[in-house]
């Protein structure tokens, strides 16, 4: 099969997956009847005739008296229009669209920093561990990554909080910035920074170096925790794939023709060992997204994950459903990109 046919097929398969994902979300939010939707829009203190009028109005608006599959298409139409409903949580109440615009940039910032850290920490350690197989350092690395792999992500975060935040008091443990630093800034109003909503970038744009430094300090613990929660798996996979590659004939050939060990490892072996990493990239993103929920919550970091747990705690259906859909979309797009990249990177693969 030609490459472009494969790409086309993947893109077409994207549609049923998307419909399936949205249907799961829709089904979950409607399976227990209309009350869960009505309660999102109606003030609980409202009773009697006023409530009945509002219920009628909402029933018409959301087509609640129609069969559920008809409702699904109305709902899907609204979602595609970009109208994702409303959310009501302690950290934000209003339309889901605004919530996403406020929280998503922070989450992206956190994930990108964590992803860079994972790459910077994981790849060299994985390669080192395989090259120096069965040495003391390799054993130490394996024990370390195995232990890290067995730790719940929240525990990694809490250990950091206890060590660096409480005992040594060198790093801040909650939020994105010290409120006293940002008390009188024109571009920071009600805890929202403008224009990108990412405080670190906004501070750099406005040239407020002390704010930027402070928000950078606040970013260290969450991103390191997020990276460590994911990196152990990466090190383990990379080590075994590197070991496999080092056993290949062409590596032996490279060695026997007298190529320096460093060149063999870095040029010949590492490039091929990294290939399986691409397939696990989707899993890594899934891990990151799951980790984001937990780690943002621990560090009170105002991102999508923190918003999700807040929505869970106050039973906010709008927030939970929007988050499920959003996380699903991110992961679907990532998987699609990984599959397409895979076809480009490995010339042996033809579909």
């Amino acid at each position: 099969m030609k490459l472009w046919i494969y790409i086309l097929r993947r893109l077409l398969l994207f549609i049923p997956t998307l419909v399936g994902l949205t249907f799961i979300v829709f089904f979950l939010s409607h399976v227990s009847g209309n009350n869960i939707i009505l309660s999102e829009y109606i003030n609980p203190h409202l009773t009697g005739a006023a409530r009945a009028v509002l219920v009628q109005q909402l029933t018409n608006e959301f087509h609640l008296n129609q069969p559920i599959y008809i409702q699904f298409f109305y709902w899907l139409y609204q979602i595609l229009q970009g109208n994702w409903g409303i959310t009501n949580t302690p950290i934000f109440s209003g339309s889901v669209n605004t919530a996403i615009a406020l929280f998503l940039p922070n989450t992206i910032m956190l994930s990108v920093v964590a992803a860079i850290l994972i790459w910077v920490i994981g790849v060299p350690l994985g390669v080192f561990s395989a090259v120096h197989r069965d040495s003391a350092a390799d054993h130490a690395l394996r024990i370390g990554s195995f232990t890290l792999y067995s730790m719940p992500p929240y525990l990694i975060g809490l250990v950091f909080i206890i060590l660096l935040g409480v005992w040594f008091k060198i790093l801040p443990i909650a939020g994105v910035v010290d409120p006293t630093v940002v008390s009188s800034l024109s571009w920071y109003i009600n805890g929202i920074s403008y224009p990108t909503h990412i405080l670190l970038i906004d501070a750099l744009l406005h040239g407020s170096w002390n704010v930027a430094a402070d928000s950078f300090l606040h970013l260290i613990l969450p991103s390191v925790t997020l990276a460590l929660a994911t990196v152990a798996g990466i090190i383990r996979i990379l080590r075994s794939s590197m070991l496999e590659v080092l056993d290949q004939d062409y590596i032996r050939l490279a060695r026997s023709k007298g190529l320096p060990e460093k060149m063999v490892n870095n040029l010949h072996a590492r490039r091929n060992a990294l290939l399986p990493m691409l397939t696990t990239f989707g899993l890594t993103v899934a891990g990151l997204l799951g980790g984001v929920v937990v780690i943002e919550t621990i560090f009170s970091y105002p991102g999508i994950g923190y918003w999700t747990t807040q929505a869970l705690l106050v039973s906010d259906v709008g927030g939970i459903m929007a988050a499920t859909l959003l996380f699903g979309l991110i992961l679907m797009v990532t998987n699609l990109i990984v599959d397409l990249l895979y076809a480009f990177v490995d010339p042996r693969i033809r579909y």
């Binding site: 398969l13 049923p16 997956t17 399936g20 994902l21 799961i24 979300v25 979950l28 939010s29 399976v31 227990s32 869960i36 195995f146 232990t147 792999y149 067995s150 730790m151 719940p152 992500p153 929240y154 525990l155 809490l158 250990v159 909080i161 206890i162 409480v166 899934a286 997204l289 799951g290 929920v293 937990v294 919550t297 999700t308 747990t309 869970l312 705690l313 039973s315 259906v317 939970i320 459903m321 988050a323 499920t324 996380f327 699903g328 992961l331 679907m332 998987n335």
Partner: protein
């Protein structure tokens, strides 16, 4: 005579498997630790009073001293908010975490294995549809999907484990499918088909048993992950104000006292990490057992 020969060969096979497993010291240590946890869970289940626990399903608060106390002779692991003795709470919690994690993996594996085997044996459009459905499940991060499922069905430990099983079966479905696809072409299956054995009999009597051992190993590898996810969900407030001895929930109790009482975090944290570590070590050892490269 043929039977005896076959038997002795099987025995040699088992011996080899045991040797491979036992030669991995880490796996043996892991197994010992897992056994301690299992014994603890069994004792709490059968005779909790032996360990000084009156009700294994509820924490015992002491509102006279709600603030966490450091480890002492009376409370070897200290106490957590509100005055809960951590040692007995952890002992009771191991049982709950173990039971529910095994429940999740067992349900997920059973459902997934059956679906995967059916998908691969029937093939064609059914296979395509089932695999697209698993794709959909894979495209939602399991933690989020579990949150959403549990959110709708109500938040309790049982619902939490059902929600996790809902997100966990697709992994086994894929796994069982790929196993089946490779055994499907084996000569003995072809022979069975040639003598006219019924399709479902082939499916469940000839293919499934051979797809099972790798699935069991996958289970042992997943058990640690499930326990971690289970406690994580409990930690972020899935079972709010539940008053149940559960390791993640126990950790969240001490959260407000993290500055003065780190043991409220460390004790349940170490207990769960040790278990996940031990299970992962055993799983790694078991994986070596079926790895033909290690058996030679």
């Amino acid at each position: 005579m043929f039977d005896a020969k076959l038997k002795s060969r099987r025995w040699a096979n088992t011996r080899l498997s045991l040797d491979v497993f036992l030669s991995n010291k880490a796996a043996v240590i892991g197994l010992a630790i897992v056994m301690v946890y299992v014994v603890d869970a069994v004792i709490v289940q059968v005779a909790p009073q032996l360990l000084g626990i009156s009700n294994p399903n509820a924490l015992v608060p002491n509102f006279a001293y709600p603030v966490p106390l450091p480890p002492s002779w009376a409370h070897p692991f200290g106490t957590t908010y509100p005055g809960v003795d951590l040692l007995s709470a952890v002992i009771a919690a191991i049982r709950i975490d173990l039971i529910y994690s095994v429940f999740v993996v067992a349900i997920g594996a059973a459902v997934g294995a059956v679906i995967g085997v059916i998908s691969a044996t029937v093939g064609g459009l059914t296979d395509e549809i089932i695999m697209r459905i698993t794709d959909i499940f894979f495209s939602i991060p399991f933690l989020i999907l579990a949150l959403a499922v549990g959110f709708i069905l109500g938040r309790s430990l049982l619902i939490m484990s059902i929600a996790l099983a809902v997100v966990w079966w697709p992994i086994y479905a894929r796994y069982a499918r790929s196993q089946t696809l490779s055994t499907k072409e084996a000569t003995y299956v072809e022979a069975a088909r040639a003598v006219g054995v019924n399709r479902f009999k082939i499916m469940f009597k000839h293919i499934l048993p051979n797809a099972l051992p790798p699935i069991f190993i996958q289970i042992s590898l997943d058990l640690g992950s499930i326990m971690i996810i289970f406690s994580t969900l409990a930690f972020i407030g899935f079972v709010a104000n539940a008053n149940v001895p559960e390791l993640g929930y126990l950790t969240s109790l001490g959260l407000n006292y993290i500055q003065i009482a780190p043991w409220t975090i460390i004790v349940p944290g170490v207990v769960i990490t040790l278990f996940a570590l031990a299970v992962n070590l055993v799983g790694d050892g078991l994986r070596d057992v079926i790895d033909p490269r290690r058996r030679s």
